[in-house]
Symmetry: C2
Subunit: 373 residues, 2 copies
């Protein structure tokens, strides 16, 4: 059936490699989406998600779509047409938030930074003050550049201006320290296929009581029926009212992936990601390569490396894939051809994988004509 | 891991039971969404979808969400705010289309029929003439009632008034005769978990050249970034431009499920569904039960049976589930407590399952106090 599918070491920006336990969970017999046995699976999944997000938010569910569906759900539920929304943009995914918000009728007020740096706090505060926006959105780990945006100062701005803070944790949840309740984030979403190491297709999302109060005050219906969080809550909550047929099999997989996270322990997992990243960064520098993001702004889950002058990044990546069965990614937008993107996420974030990768990367670069300085 | 999950015979409105071959396909190693090996999986999947929809439409893809995401994709791409849309409504899912269309800013002009009957053609034509709508939407098999809406007359109206025809084939694709190109349907969407017997989570969708021309003429952006078909086409088409991370594992499962459909042959599969339904209807009538829909309007994939007077439908369904491991469903909306809904979809649509079900249903009804007339 799938004889032609190779086993890749997935070290790109996601999907990451999946544990055999998660793959096995996908073969669990299908249940109806209102079967009492499945309702229990849902309860367990929500409970595990709360532990991984570190929240007590009741509304903590997997959205039935990929990370971008989680992003769209967060946006369309929190803004109404004509409202202002400040978006901290330092890369491709910040731009995506802005684009979705515009499609939802919001007046987007961008607070921009150059790709490869974090967004300046004062730019965000100035945008909020100027626009009176009641929603601020930011990307925790910007997968297009590999920066890690510090969240506490953003929470502080949001509180002082009575704005909601939306955080994109697509490339951080499960791999980077994140405590939704302690920080005071209002809406946080992620994706199954990055640091949680579950196949792509679900977007965990959590919303605070403040966010739900804002939802209850809306004057307009949420433009997306499919992503309407109030309706989704009547299915995932105690009422169990049918909304759409839950993606049962993917939820089995997510539950198993979350169990693995909890068994490892969140702190231990964050530390594993931190250490693997340190090993990678040191190794890349030892090879003579230049990391694109200054160390104090770097995310441990996604590393950008400058493509050396005279080297064709596509040829190197093709060689890595064909000769070594290793996937990494190239740059997006203005970084196209300028950086390699190396992900160390979830199951894949180990010293062993880093060493395997460094040897293959060195060989592939040399085969494509690179000579270290 | 999943020791507590029972093996159910799924005879509700979906999900249906899944072949072991499909479950096995879900354990295929994860590939990146731009891996050449995965691009080939995508090509095969699109090719198989075209065979099952019976279309040569280039834009024939699985939407990354459940059937309702397919419905929302069809609607938000085909209407713009302020435009009229005629919706043929004869049940819960027709109402859902209308609700989504209103949220997309459309002026919905309903052509209604009583639940349990098909929509009258003249009501549709009158609504189109009166409103000048350029889009008509209809549900092929209305899963809330079990009617089968005849499509050729609707196509005829659409052509005469230069309107696009959107068809919800969620509970018909793969189980009921349907030929998108021969009929001349413009947009048709379905769901993975009904007659295709793949786990829930994907919504196959196809759009004609006429529909794509309408998309190209839009004055406004599609309100949903996630469901923007023009952008999705740049990923699924020859350009292969990243949009969102494809749900790789579910696509493996869909591909395998579609292979099973093609191996069986569409005509043979339709005939199997027809025969199983006949067996079910005769058996139910022999028990002395009343079918809710007149025979000439009945869908073979979903049957509604009147709940006998004095019988508690919930108690019967609970008994079927607990004592016999069989899932069927109750009525929705105005049919709540009034009908049972029995699905014979995909893998589950066999004479053997019908006989198993009839014996269990008879026993459960009697245990709940029913005495046949």
């Amino acid at each position: 059936m799938s004889t032609a599918i190779p086993e890749r070491l997935l070290l790109g920006p996601g999907p990451s490699n999946v544990s055999p336990r998660v793959l096995q969970a996908l073969t669990t017999p299908i249940l109806g989406h209102l079967d009492p046995a499945f309702l229990q699976v849902m309860d367990e999944t929500m409970d595990l998600l709360r532990r991984v997000f570190r929240t007590r938010n009741e509304l903590t569910i997997p959205i039935s779509g990929t990370g971008s569906a989680g992003m769209e759900a967060a946006i369309v539920n929190m803004v109404e047409p004509g409202e202002s929304m400040v978006v901290a943009i330092a890369g491709y995914f910040g731009e995506r938030i802005a684009e979705m918000a515009r499609r939802a009728g919001a007046e987007v007020v961008p607070a921009r930074a150059d790709w490869g740096t974090i967004v300046d706090l004062q730019a965000v505060e100035e945008a909020v003050r100027r626009s009176g926006a009641r929603v601020i959105a930011a990307v925790h780990v910007e997968t297009s550049t590999g920066i890690l945006q510090p969240l506490p100062p953003l929470v502080d701005v949001a509180r002082r201006y009575d704005a909601l803070l939306l955080v994109d944790a697509v490339a951080s949840l499960g791999g980077v320290p994140l405590d939704v309740d302690e920080l005071g984030i209002d809406v946080c979403y992620s994706a199954s296929q990055k640091c949680l190491s579950v196949p792509p297709g679900l977007a965990p999302l959590t919303a605070s009581a403040r966010a739900r109060a804002r939802m209850a005050e809306r004057r307009t219906k949420v433009q997306s029926w499919y992503l309407d969080l109030s309706m989704l809550q009547t299915y995932w909550g105690t009422e169990r009212i049918y909304h759409h047929t839950a993606p049962v099999t993917m939820i089995y997989g997510l539950r198993e992936g979350l169990r693995l996270v909890v068994e490892e322990g969140l702190e231990a997992r964050w530390e594993r990601h931190r250490r693997a990243a340190q090993t990678l960064w040191q190794g890349l520098q030892r090879l003579g390569l230049r990391l694109y993001v200054p160390e104090e702004q770097r995310a441990p889950t996604l590393t950008t490396v400058a493509v050396p002058v005279g080297v064709d990044d596509l040829a190197v990546r093709r060689r890595l894939l064909q000769d070594h069965n290793i996937e990494i990614a190239g740059g997006l937008g203005p970084l196209r051809g300028k950086v390699f993107r190396i992900g160390l996420m979830g199951e894949g974030s180990t010293a062993g994988n880093v060493h395997t990768f460094l040897a293959a990367f060195d060989a592939a670069l040399r085969a494509e004509g690179w000579r270290a300085a």
